[in-house]
Protein backbone atom coordinates (compact mmCIF):
# COMPACT_ATOMS: atom_id res chain seq x y z
CA UNK A 1 0.00 0.00 0.00
CA UNK A 2 1.39 3.39 -0.99
CA UNK A 3 1.04 6.68 0.81
CA UNK A 4 -1.04 8.08 -2.04
CA UNK A 5 -3.70 5.47 -1.36
CA UNK A 6 -4.10 6.58 2.20
CA UNK A 7 -4.57 10.18 1.13
CA UNK A 8 -7.26 9.11 -1.30
CA UNK A 9 -9.04 7.17 1.41
CA UNK A 10 -9.80 10.21 3.49
CA UNK A 11 -12.98 11.53 1.78
CA UNK A 12 -14.61 8.11 1.79
CA UNK A 13 -13.91 7.62 5.46
CA UNK A 14 -15.72 10.83 6.26
CA UNK A 15 -18.91 9.40 4.83
CA UNK A 16 -18.62 6.27 6.94
CA UNK A 17 -20.74 6.03 10.13
CA UNK A 18 -19.58 8.52 12.78
CA UNK A 19 -16.79 7.46 15.08
CA UNK A 20 -17.84 5.89 18.32
CA UNK A 21 -20.86 4.01 16.99
CA UNK A 22 -20.13 0.40 16.17
CA UNK A 23 -21.19 -0.31 12.57
CA UNK A 24 -23.64 -3.18 12.18
CA UNK A 25 -21.94 -6.37 11.06
CA UNK A 26 -23.43 -7.36 7.71
CA UNK A 27 -21.13 -10.21 6.73
CA UNK A 28 -19.54 -12.66 9.13
CA UNK A 29 -17.63 -15.62 7.74
CA UNK A 30 -16.12 -17.96 10.30
CA UNK A 31 -13.54 -20.65 9.39
CA UNK A 32 -15.29 -21.27 6.11
CA UNK A 33 -14.20 -24.26 4.05
CA UNK A 34 -15.82 -24.44 0.63
CA UNK A 35 -14.95 -27.32 -1.65
CA UNK A 36 -15.62 -27.03 -5.38
CA UNK A 37 -15.51 -30.57 -6.69
CA UNK A 38 -12.45 -31.84 -4.80
CA UNK A 39 -10.68 -28.48 -4.63
CA UNK A 40 -10.90 -26.48 -1.38
CA UNK A 41 -11.43 -23.00 -2.84
CA UNK A 42 -11.80 -21.59 0.67
CA UNK A 43 -9.56 -23.24 3.26
CA UNK A 44 -10.76 -21.84 6.57
CA UNK A 45 -11.52 -18.21 5.77
CA UNK A 46 -12.49 -15.59 8.36
CA UNK A 47 -13.90 -12.25 7.28
CA UNK A 48 -16.18 -9.65 8.81
CA UNK A 49 -17.60 -6.54 7.23
CA UNK A 50 -19.87 -3.84 8.61
CA UNK A 51 -22.33 -1.43 7.06
CA UNK A 52 -20.77 1.45 5.15
CA UNK A 53 -17.55 -0.44 4.54
CA UNK A 54 -16.01 -0.90 1.12
CA UNK A 55 -13.81 -3.98 1.39
CA UNK A 56 -11.38 -4.66 -1.42
CA UNK A 57 -10.50 -8.32 -1.80
CA UNK A 58 -7.20 -8.71 -3.56
CA UNK A 59 -4.98 -11.64 -4.33
CA UNK A 60 -3.61 -13.65 -7.23
CA UNK A 61 -5.76 -15.58 -9.69
CA UNK A 62 -7.37 -18.60 -8.05
CA UNK A 63 -6.92 -17.19 -4.55
CA UNK A 64 -10.61 -17.63 -3.78
CA UNK A 65 -11.92 -14.05 -4.19
CA UNK A 66 -14.81 -15.01 -6.45
CA UNK A 67 -15.69 -17.91 -4.16
CA UNK A 68 -15.91 -15.54 -1.17
CA UNK A 69 -18.44 -13.39 -3.04
CA UNK A 70 -20.46 -16.37 -4.26
CA UNK A 71 -20.43 -17.95 -0.82
CA UNK A 72 -21.97 -14.77 0.62
CA UNK A 73 -24.83 -15.21 -1.85
CA UNK A 74 -25.33 -18.85 -0.86
CA UNK A 75 -24.17 -20.16 -4.22
CA UNK A 76 -21.31 -22.28 -2.91
CA UNK A 77 -21.69 -25.35 -0.70
CA UNK A 78 -20.01 -24.80 2.66
CA UNK A 79 -18.35 -27.90 4.12
CA UNK A 80 -17.15 -26.36 7.38
CA UNK A 81 -17.58 -23.12 9.27
CA UNK A 82 -20.55 -20.79 8.87
CA UNK A 83 -21.60 -17.58 7.20
CA UNK A 84 -24.13 -15.09 8.42
CA UNK A 85 -25.28 -12.32 6.11
CA UNK A 86 -27.42 -9.38 7.24
CA UNK A 87 -28.05 -11.22 10.48
CA UNK A 88 -29.40 -14.36 8.82
CA UNK A 89 -27.86 -17.82 8.66
CA UNK A 90 -27.28 -18.48 4.97
CA UNK A 91 -28.12 -22.15 5.28
CA UNK A 92 -31.63 -21.42 6.55
CA UNK A 93 -32.71 -18.06 5.24
CA UNK A 94 -31.33 -17.95 1.75
CA UNK A 95 -34.35 -16.44 0.07
CA UNK A 96 -34.81 -13.44 2.32
CA UNK A 97 -31.06 -12.83 2.27
CA UNK A 98 -30.97 -12.91 -1.49
CA UNK A 99 -33.62 -10.22 -1.78
CA UNK A 100 -31.37 -7.90 0.17
CA UNK A 101 -28.04 -8.59 -1.51
CA UNK A 102 -26.81 -8.00 -5.04
CA UNK A 103 -24.13 -10.05 -6.78
CA UNK A 104 -22.55 -8.76 -9.94
CA UNK A 105 -20.28 -11.47 -11.27
CA UNK A 106 -18.38 -12.08 -14.46
CA UNK A 107 -21.75 -12.71 -16.08
CA UNK A 108 -24.22 -9.86 -15.98
CA UNK A 109 -27.30 -12.07 -15.45
CA UNK A 110 -29.34 -10.14 -18.02
CA UNK A 111 -31.92 -11.59 -20.40
CA UNK A 112 -30.63 -11.08 -23.94
CA UNK A 113 -34.10 -10.82 -25.43
CA UNK A 114 -35.49 -8.22 -23.05
CA UNK A 115 -34.88 -4.49 -23.28
CA UNK A 116 -32.71 -2.59 -20.85
CA UNK A 117 -35.70 -1.31 -18.96
CA UNK A 118 -37.52 -4.67 -18.92
CA UNK A 119 -34.43 -6.31 -17.45
CA UNK A 120 -34.03 -3.75 -14.70
CA UNK A 121 -37.74 -3.81 -14.01
CA UNK A 122 -37.78 -7.58 -13.59
CA UNK A 123 -34.81 -7.49 -11.23
CA UNK A 124 -36.39 -4.75 -9.12
CA UNK A 125 -39.83 -6.35 -8.95
CA UNK A 126 -38.36 -9.80 -8.18
CA UNK A 127 -36.60 -8.35 -5.15
CA UNK A 128 -39.82 -6.52 -4.18
CA UNK A 129 -38.04 -3.20 -4.74
CA UNK A 130 -39.40 0.23 -5.62
CA UNK A 131 -40.15 0.51 -9.35
CA UNK A 132 -40.11 4.33 -9.17
CA UNK A 133 -36.38 4.29 -8.63
CA UNK A 134 -35.71 2.76 -12.05
CA UNK A 135 -35.62 5.91 -14.25
CA UNK A 136 -33.16 7.67 -11.98
CA UNK A 137 -30.95 4.56 -11.78
CA UNK A 138 -30.90 4.22 -15.57
CA UNK A 139 -29.95 7.89 -15.91
CA UNK A 140 -27.27 7.59 -13.23
CA UNK A 141 -25.51 4.80 -15.13
CA UNK A 142 -26.07 6.57 -18.45
CA UNK A 143 -28.20 3.81 -19.97
CA UNK A 144 -31.47 5.74 -20.04
CA UNK A 145 -32.78 7.59 -23.06
CA UNK A 146 -32.03 5.91 -26.37
CA UNK A 147 -30.68 2.71 -24.82
CA UNK A 148 -33.67 2.20 -22.50
CA UNK A 149 -35.85 0.41 -25.06
CA UNK A 150 -33.02 -1.40 -26.81
CA UNK A 151 -32.64 -5.19 -26.51
CA UNK A 152 -29.72 -6.17 -24.31
CA UNK A 153 -28.37 -8.38 -27.10
CA UNK A 154 -27.51 -5.24 -29.05
CA UNK A 155 -25.41 -3.78 -26.25
CA UNK A 156 -21.64 -3.90 -25.84
CA UNK A 157 -20.06 -5.67 -22.88
CA UNK A 158 -19.46 -2.36 -21.12
CA UNK A 159 -23.04 -1.20 -21.65
CA UNK A 160 -24.34 -4.50 -20.26
CA UNK A 161 -22.25 -3.99 -17.18
CA UNK A 162 -23.79 -0.54 -16.76
CA UNK A 163 -27.28 -2.01 -17.10
CA UNK A 164 -26.51 -4.62 -14.46
CA UNK A 165 -25.21 -1.86 -12.19
CA UNK A 166 -28.34 0.19 -12.85
CA UNK A 167 -30.42 -2.78 -11.71
CA UNK A 168 -28.30 -2.97 -8.58
CA UNK A 169 -28.70 0.74 -7.87
CA UNK A 170 -32.44 0.62 -8.50
CA UNK A 171 -32.88 -2.38 -6.20
CA UNK A 172 -30.69 -0.81 -3.53
CA UNK A 173 -29.67 -3.99 -1.68
CA UNK A 174 -27.80 -3.62 1.63
CA UNK A 175 -24.87 -5.76 0.55
CA UNK A 176 -23.14 -5.47 -2.80
CA UNK A 177 -20.90 -8.28 -3.99
CA UNK A 178 -18.92 -7.03 -6.97
CA UNK A 179 -16.61 -9.36 -8.89
CA UNK A 180 -14.21 -7.43 -11.12
CA UNK A 181 -16.72 -4.62 -11.68
CA UNK A 182 -14.18 -2.43 -13.48
CA UNK A 183 -13.53 -5.02 -16.18
CA UNK A 184 -14.95 -4.06 -19.55
CA UNK A 185 -15.79 -0.48 -18.57
CA UNK A 186 -14.33 2.58 -20.27
CA UNK A 187 -12.51 5.19 -18.11
CA UNK A 188 -15.69 7.24 -17.70
CA UNK A 189 -17.60 4.12 -16.71
CA UNK A 190 -14.96 3.25 -14.11
CA UNK A 191 -15.16 6.71 -12.58
CA UNK A 192 -18.93 6.45 -12.58
CA UNK A 193 -18.75 3.04 -10.91
CA UNK A 194 -16.44 4.40 -8.22
CA UNK A 195 -18.86 7.25 -7.54
CA UNK A 196 -21.82 4.90 -7.35
CA UNK A 197 -19.98 2.60 -4.93
CA UNK A 198 -18.96 5.49 -2.70
CA UNK A 199 -22.51 6.86 -2.67
CA UNK A 200 -23.90 3.47 -1.72
CA UNK A 201 -21.36 3.08 1.06
CA UNK A 202 -22.20 6.53 2.35
CA UNK A 203 -25.81 5.39 2.59
CA UNK A 204 -24.76 2.45 4.76
CA UNK A 205 -24.36 -0.27 2.14
CA UNK A 206 -21.60 -2.84 2.59
CA UNK A 207 -19.58 -3.41 -0.56
CA UNK A 208 -17.32 -6.42 -1.04
CA UNK A 209 -15.22 -5.84 -4.09
CA UNK A 210 -12.84 -8.19 -5.86
CA UNK A 211 -10.60 -6.39 -8.31
CA UNK A 212 -7.29 -6.61 -10.06
CA UNK A 213 -7.43 -2.89 -10.78
CA UNK A 214 -5.82 -2.46 -7.37
CA UNK A 215 -4.76 1.18 -7.65
CA UNK A 216 -8.24 2.31 -8.61
CA UNK A 217 -10.06 0.04 -6.18
CA UNK A 218 -7.81 0.97 -3.26
CA UNK A 219 -8.86 4.58 -3.69
CA UNK A 220 -12.47 3.83 -2.92
CA UNK A 221 -11.87 1.00 -0.46
CA UNK A 222 -12.05 1.60 3.25
CA UNK A 223 -10.27 -1.70 3.85
CA UNK A 224 -8.01 -3.96 1.84
CA UNK A 225 -7.99 -7.70 2.46
CA UNK A 226 -5.37 -9.92 0.88
CA UNK A 227 -6.63 -13.41 0.12
CA UNK A 228 -4.31 -16.20 -0.89
CA UNK A 229 -4.75 -19.95 -0.87
CA UNK A 230 -8.37 -19.65 0.16
CA UNK A 231 -7.90 -17.64 3.36
CA UNK A 232 -7.26 -14.11 4.54
CA UNK A 233 -3.56 -13.40 4.79
CA UNK A 234 -3.58 -9.72 5.71
CA UNK A 235 -6.36 -7.32 6.60
CA UNK A 236 -5.72 -3.59 6.57
CA UNK A 237 -8.45 -2.89 9.12
CA UNK A 238 -5.88 -2.37 11.87
CA UNK A 239 -3.68 -0.05 9.79
CA UNK A 240 -6.48 2.39 9.15
CA UNK A 241 -7.48 2.67 12.75
CA UNK A 242 -3.87 3.39 13.68
CA UNK A 243 -3.50 6.04 11.00
Amino acid sequence: MSVADDVQLAPVKMTAPPAGTVPEVTVAMRSVVAVLGVFPALSGLDLQAGSGEVVLLRGPNGAGKTTVLRACAGLVPIQRGDISVLGCDLRKDRRSVRRRIGLLGHATSLYEDLTVEQNVRFAVRAAAGDVDRIPAALERLDVGGRLRTLGVMHLSAGQRRRVALAALVARGPRLWLLDEPHAGLDPDGRDLLDEVISEAAAAGTTVLLASHDVDRATRIASRVVLITGGRVVTDSVGDHHVS
Binding site: V38, G44, G59, A63, G229, G230, V233
Partner: protein, 259 residues
Protein backbone atom coordinates in the same frame (compact mmCIF):
# COMPACT_ATOMS: atom_id res chain seq x y z
CA UNK B 1 -8.27 -38.17 20.91
CA UNK B 2 -11.34 -37.44 18.86
CA UNK B 3 -9.78 -38.69 15.69
CA UNK B 4 -8.79 -41.99 17.28
CA UNK B 5 -12.33 -42.40 18.59
CA UNK B 6 -13.88 -41.85 15.16
CA UNK B 7 -11.33 -44.12 13.60
CA UNK B 8 -12.21 -46.83 16.07
CA UNK B 9 -15.95 -46.56 15.48
CA UNK B 10 -15.42 -46.56 11.73
CA UNK B 11 -13.17 -49.60 12.22
CA UNK B 12 -15.90 -51.39 14.21
CA UNK B 13 -18.47 -50.44 11.56
CA UNK B 14 -16.24 -51.73 8.81
CA UNK B 15 -15.80 -55.12 10.45
CA UNK B 16 -19.56 -55.39 11.17
CA UNK B 17 -20.36 -54.54 7.58
CA UNK B 18 -17.70 -57.01 6.47
CA UNK B 19 -19.29 -59.80 8.51
CA UNK B 20 -22.75 -58.85 7.27
CA UNK B 21 -21.47 -58.86 3.71
CA UNK B 22 -20.01 -62.35 4.17
CA UNK B 23 -23.14 -63.72 5.78
CA UNK B 24 -25.47 -62.23 3.16
CA UNK B 25 -23.21 -63.43 0.38
CA UNK B 26 -23.16 -66.96 1.79
CA UNK B 27 -26.92 -66.99 2.34
CA UNK B 28 -27.59 -65.62 -1.15
CA UNK B 29 -25.25 -68.14 -2.76
CA UNK B 30 -26.66 -71.06 -0.81
CA UNK B 31 -30.28 -70.16 -1.47
CA UNK B 32 -29.58 -69.63 -5.18
CA UNK B 33 -28.01 -73.07 -5.31
CA UNK B 34 -30.97 -74.61 -3.49
CA UNK B 35 -33.37 -72.74 -5.80
CA UNK B 36 -31.56 -74.11 -8.84
CA UNK B 37 -31.86 -77.66 -7.51
CA UNK B 38 -35.52 -77.21 -6.61
CA UNK B 39 -36.46 -75.35 -9.77
CA UNK B 40 -34.59 -77.44 -12.34
CA UNK B 41 -34.48 -80.94 -10.85
CA UNK B 42 -36.88 -81.53 -7.98
CA UNK B 43 -40.04 -79.88 -9.32
CA UNK B 44 -41.81 -81.46 -12.27
CA UNK B 45 -42.86 -79.86 -15.57
CA UNK B 46 -46.41 -78.49 -15.67
CA UNK B 47 -49.14 -80.33 -17.57
CA UNK B 48 -50.19 -77.22 -19.49
CA UNK B 49 -47.04 -75.11 -19.56
CA UNK B 50 -44.44 -77.84 -19.72
CA UNK B 51 -40.89 -76.86 -18.88
CA UNK B 52 -41.77 -73.19 -19.20
CA UNK B 53 -43.42 -73.32 -15.79
CA UNK B 54 -39.92 -73.21 -14.30
CA UNK B 55 -39.83 -69.50 -15.22
CA UNK B 56 -42.29 -69.11 -12.36
CA UNK B 57 -39.38 -69.68 -9.99
CA UNK B 58 -37.46 -66.65 -11.26
CA UNK B 59 -39.76 -64.21 -13.04
CA UNK B 60 -42.11 -63.08 -10.23
CA UNK B 61 -39.20 -62.85 -7.82
CA UNK B 62 -37.10 -60.60 -10.08
CA UNK B 63 -40.15 -58.38 -10.62
CA UNK B 64 -40.61 -58.17 -6.84
CA UNK B 65 -36.96 -57.23 -6.29
CA UNK B 66 -37.23 -54.55 -8.98
CA UNK B 67 -40.23 -52.92 -7.28
CA UNK B 68 -38.61 -53.21 -3.87
CA UNK B 69 -35.41 -51.62 -5.23
CA UNK B 70 -37.31 -48.62 -6.61
CA UNK B 71 -39.23 -48.22 -3.36
CA UNK B 72 -35.93 -48.23 -1.46
CA UNK B 73 -34.50 -45.69 -3.93
CA UNK B 74 -37.41 -43.32 -3.37
CA UNK B 75 -37.37 -43.67 0.40
CA UNK B 76 -33.61 -43.11 0.53
CA UNK B 77 -33.95 -40.14 -1.83
CA UNK B 78 -36.62 -38.64 0.39
CA UNK B 79 -34.43 -39.11 3.47
CA UNK B 80 -31.58 -37.35 1.68
CA UNK B 81 -33.77 -34.44 0.59
CA UNK B 82 -35.19 -33.91 4.09
CA UNK B 83 -32.61 -31.58 5.71
CA UNK B 84 -32.88 -33.20 9.14
CA UNK B 85 -32.17 -36.72 7.94
CA UNK B 86 -29.66 -35.79 5.23
CA UNK B 87 -26.70 -38.16 5.26
CA UNK B 88 -24.39 -39.25 2.43
CA UNK B 89 -25.46 -42.82 3.24
CA UNK B 90 -28.97 -42.19 1.86
CA UNK B 91 -27.60 -41.04 -1.45
CA UNK B 92 -25.35 -44.08 -1.71
CA UNK B 93 -28.33 -46.34 -1.02
CA UNK B 94 -30.55 -44.49 -3.50
CA UNK B 95 -27.95 -44.68 -6.25
CA UNK B 96 -27.09 -48.32 -5.63
CA UNK B 97 -30.71 -49.39 -5.42
CA UNK B 98 -31.69 -47.53 -8.61
CA UNK B 99 -29.09 -49.28 -10.75
CA UNK B 100 -29.78 -52.70 -9.20
CA UNK B 101 -33.49 -52.07 -9.78
CA UNK B 102 -32.90 -51.29 -13.46
CA UNK B 103 -30.91 -54.52 -13.85
CA UNK B 104 -33.68 -56.55 -12.22
CA UNK B 105 -36.38 -54.83 -14.30
CA UNK B 106 -34.39 -55.72 -17.40
CA UNK B 107 -34.12 -59.30 -16.15
CA UNK B 108 -37.88 -59.36 -15.53
CA UNK B 109 -38.53 -58.19 -19.09
CA UNK B 110 -36.24 -60.82 -20.58
CA UNK B 111 -37.75 -63.61 -18.49
CA UNK B 112 -41.26 -62.37 -19.28
CA UNK B 113 -40.40 -62.35 -22.95
CA UNK B 114 -39.19 -65.97 -22.71
CA UNK B 115 -42.40 -66.90 -20.96
CA UNK B 116 -44.45 -65.13 -23.62
CA UNK B 117 -42.62 -66.98 -26.36
CA UNK B 118 -43.22 -70.33 -24.65
CA UNK B 119 -46.84 -69.62 -23.74
CA UNK B 120 -48.28 -67.41 -26.48
CA UNK B 121 -45.71 -67.86 -29.24
CA UNK B 122 -44.61 -64.20 -29.29
CA UNK B 123 -41.49 -62.60 -27.84
CA UNK B 124 -43.49 -59.49 -27.01
CA UNK B 125 -47.19 -58.97 -26.35
CA UNK B 126 -48.67 -55.58 -25.40
CA UNK B 127 -50.28 -56.83 -22.22
CA UNK B 128 -50.78 -54.44 -19.32
CA UNK B 129 -48.16 -55.94 -17.03
CA UNK B 130 -45.43 -56.21 -19.64
CA UNK B 131 -46.06 -52.70 -20.91
CA UNK B 132 -45.97 -51.27 -17.38
CA UNK B 133 -42.69 -53.07 -16.70
CA UNK B 134 -41.18 -51.77 -19.92
CA UNK B 135 -42.13 -48.19 -18.99
CA UNK B 136 -40.75 -48.76 -15.49
CA UNK B 137 -37.46 -49.86 -17.04
CA UNK B 138 -37.33 -46.72 -19.21
CA UNK B 139 -38.30 -44.44 -16.31
CA UNK B 140 -35.48 -45.63 -14.08
CA UNK B 141 -33.00 -45.96 -16.94
CA UNK B 142 -33.48 -42.18 -17.15
CA UNK B 143 -32.79 -41.78 -13.41
CA UNK B 144 -29.61 -43.84 -13.70
CA UNK B 145 -28.57 -41.83 -16.77
CA UNK B 146 -29.07 -38.68 -14.71
CA UNK B 147 -26.86 -40.11 -11.99
CA UNK B 148 -23.99 -40.71 -14.37
CA UNK B 149 -23.92 -37.07 -15.50
CA UNK B 150 -20.72 -35.57 -14.07
CA UNK B 151 -21.50 -33.33 -11.09
CA UNK B 152 -20.46 -32.53 -7.54
CA UNK B 153 -21.55 -35.07 -4.96
CA UNK B 154 -24.37 -32.92 -3.57
CA UNK B 155 -25.72 -31.94 -6.97
CA UNK B 156 -25.70 -35.56 -8.05
CA UNK B 157 -27.45 -36.68 -4.88
CA UNK B 158 -30.09 -33.99 -5.30
CA UNK B 159 -30.72 -34.90 -8.94
CA UNK B 160 -30.92 -38.61 -8.16
CA UNK B 161 -33.35 -38.07 -5.29
CA UNK B 162 -35.68 -35.76 -7.20
CA UNK B 163 -35.51 -37.79 -10.40
CA UNK B 164 -36.30 -40.97 -8.46
CA UNK B 165 -39.29 -39.30 -6.80
CA UNK B 166 -40.67 -38.02 -10.10
CA UNK B 167 -40.37 -41.54 -11.49
CA UNK B 168 -41.81 -43.19 -8.39
CA UNK B 169 -45.03 -41.17 -8.28
CA UNK B 170 -45.43 -41.99 -11.96
CA UNK B 171 -45.53 -45.74 -11.28
CA UNK B 172 -49.23 -45.96 -10.23
CA UNK B 173 -50.22 -43.57 -13.03
CA UNK B 174 -48.42 -45.73 -15.59
CA UNK B 175 -49.97 -48.84 -14.07
CA UNK B 176 -53.56 -47.60 -14.22
CA UNK B 177 -53.30 -45.95 -17.62
CA UNK B 178 -51.86 -49.07 -19.21
CA UNK B 179 -54.39 -51.30 -17.44
CA UNK B 180 -57.32 -49.21 -18.68
CA UNK B 181 -55.78 -49.07 -22.12
CA UNK B 182 -55.95 -52.87 -22.34
CA UNK B 183 -59.25 -53.47 -20.52
CA UNK B 184 -61.28 -50.79 -22.29
CA UNK B 185 -60.38 -51.95 -25.76
CA UNK B 186 -59.18 -55.52 -25.91
CA UNK B 187 -59.83 -58.82 -24.26
CA UNK B 188 -57.31 -59.21 -21.54
CA UNK B 189 -58.28 -62.75 -20.65
CA UNK B 190 -56.28 -64.29 -23.50
CA UNK B 191 -53.14 -63.02 -21.91
CA UNK B 192 -53.74 -64.44 -18.46
CA UNK B 193 -51.86 -67.68 -17.93
CA UNK B 194 -54.99 -69.14 -16.38
CA UNK B 195 -54.09 -72.77 -17.00
CA UNK B 196 -51.39 -72.80 -14.36
CA UNK B 197 -52.24 -74.42 -11.06
CA UNK B 198 -49.64 -73.81 -8.40
CA UNK B 199 -49.49 -76.01 -5.37
CA UNK B 200 -47.26 -77.90 -3.00
CA UNK B 201 -43.60 -77.97 -3.90
CA UNK B 202 -44.12 -75.58 -6.82
CA UNK B 203 -45.62 -72.98 -4.53
CA UNK B 204 -42.83 -73.47 -2.01
CA UNK B 205 -40.17 -73.14 -4.70
CA UNK B 206 -41.75 -69.95 -6.01
CA UNK B 207 -42.00 -68.40 -2.55
CA UNK B 208 -38.44 -69.52 -1.82
CA UNK B 209 -37.28 -67.72 -4.97
CA UNK B 210 -38.48 -64.45 -3.41
CA UNK B 211 -36.21 -65.07 -0.43
CA UNK B 212 -33.28 -66.05 -2.63
CA UNK B 213 -33.50 -63.03 -4.90
CA UNK B 214 -34.09 -60.66 -1.99
CA UNK B 215 -30.85 -61.97 -0.49
CA UNK B 216 -29.08 -61.39 -3.79
CA UNK B 217 -30.44 -57.84 -3.77
CA UNK B 218 -29.24 -57.30 -0.19
CA UNK B 219 -25.78 -58.61 -1.02
CA UNK B 220 -25.49 -56.42 -4.13
CA UNK B 221 -26.71 -53.42 -2.11
CA UNK B 222 -24.04 -53.95 0.54
CA UNK B 223 -21.32 -54.18 -2.10
CA UNK B 224 -22.44 -51.11 -4.07
CA UNK B 225 -23.06 -48.96 -1.00
CA UNK B 226 -19.70 -49.92 0.47
CA UNK B 227 -17.93 -49.14 -2.76
CA UNK B 228 -19.59 -45.72 -2.88
CA UNK B 229 -18.55 -45.08 0.73
CA UNK B 230 -14.94 -45.96 -0.01
CA UNK B 231 -14.99 -43.57 -2.94
CA UNK B 232 -16.36 -40.83 -0.70
CA UNK B 233 -13.83 -41.57 2.03
CA UNK B 234 -11.05 -41.40 -0.49
CA UNK B 235 -12.22 -37.91 -1.39
CA UNK B 236 -12.85 -36.82 2.21
CA UNK B 237 -9.55 -38.24 3.40
CA UNK B 238 -7.90 -36.09 0.80
CA UNK B 239 -9.77 -33.00 1.99
CA UNK B 240 -7.68 -32.26 5.09
CA UNK B 241 -4.49 -32.69 3.12
CA UNK B 242 -5.92 -30.52 0.35
CA UNK B 243 -6.82 -27.78 2.82
CA UNK B 244 -3.30 -27.79 4.25
CA UNK B 245 -1.86 -27.69 0.74
CA UNK B 246 -4.17 -24.84 -0.17
CA UNK B 247 -3.19 -22.86 2.92
CA UNK B 248 0.53 -23.32 2.32
CA UNK B 249 -0.05 -22.06 -1.19
CA UNK B 250 -1.01 -18.86 0.59
CA UNK B 251 2.10 -18.65 2.79
CA UNK B 252 4.37 -19.17 -0.20
CA UNK B 253 2.72 -16.27 -1.89
CA UNK B 254 3.02 -14.16 1.23
CA UNK B 255 6.78 -14.76 1.35
CA UNK B 256 6.96 -13.81 -2.30
CA UNK B 257 4.95 -10.67 -1.71
CA UNK B 258 6.88 -9.37 1.27
CA UNK B 259 10.34 -10.03 -0.13
Amino acid sequence: MRTTATMQTSGVQTSTVQTLSWLTGLAAGASLALLTVLGLFVTRPDEVQGEAVRLLYVHPATAWVAYMAFAVTSLAGLLWLWPRTRKPLWDRIAGASASIGVVFTGLTLVLGSLWGRATWGFWWVWDARGTSTLLLFLLYAGVVALRYVPATRDARARRTAIGALIAFIDVPLVHFSVKWWKTLHQEASVLQPSGVQIHGLQLFTMLFSFVAFSLVYAWLMIQRTRLARWEDELEAGGLDAAIVARQSEGSQHLIGATS
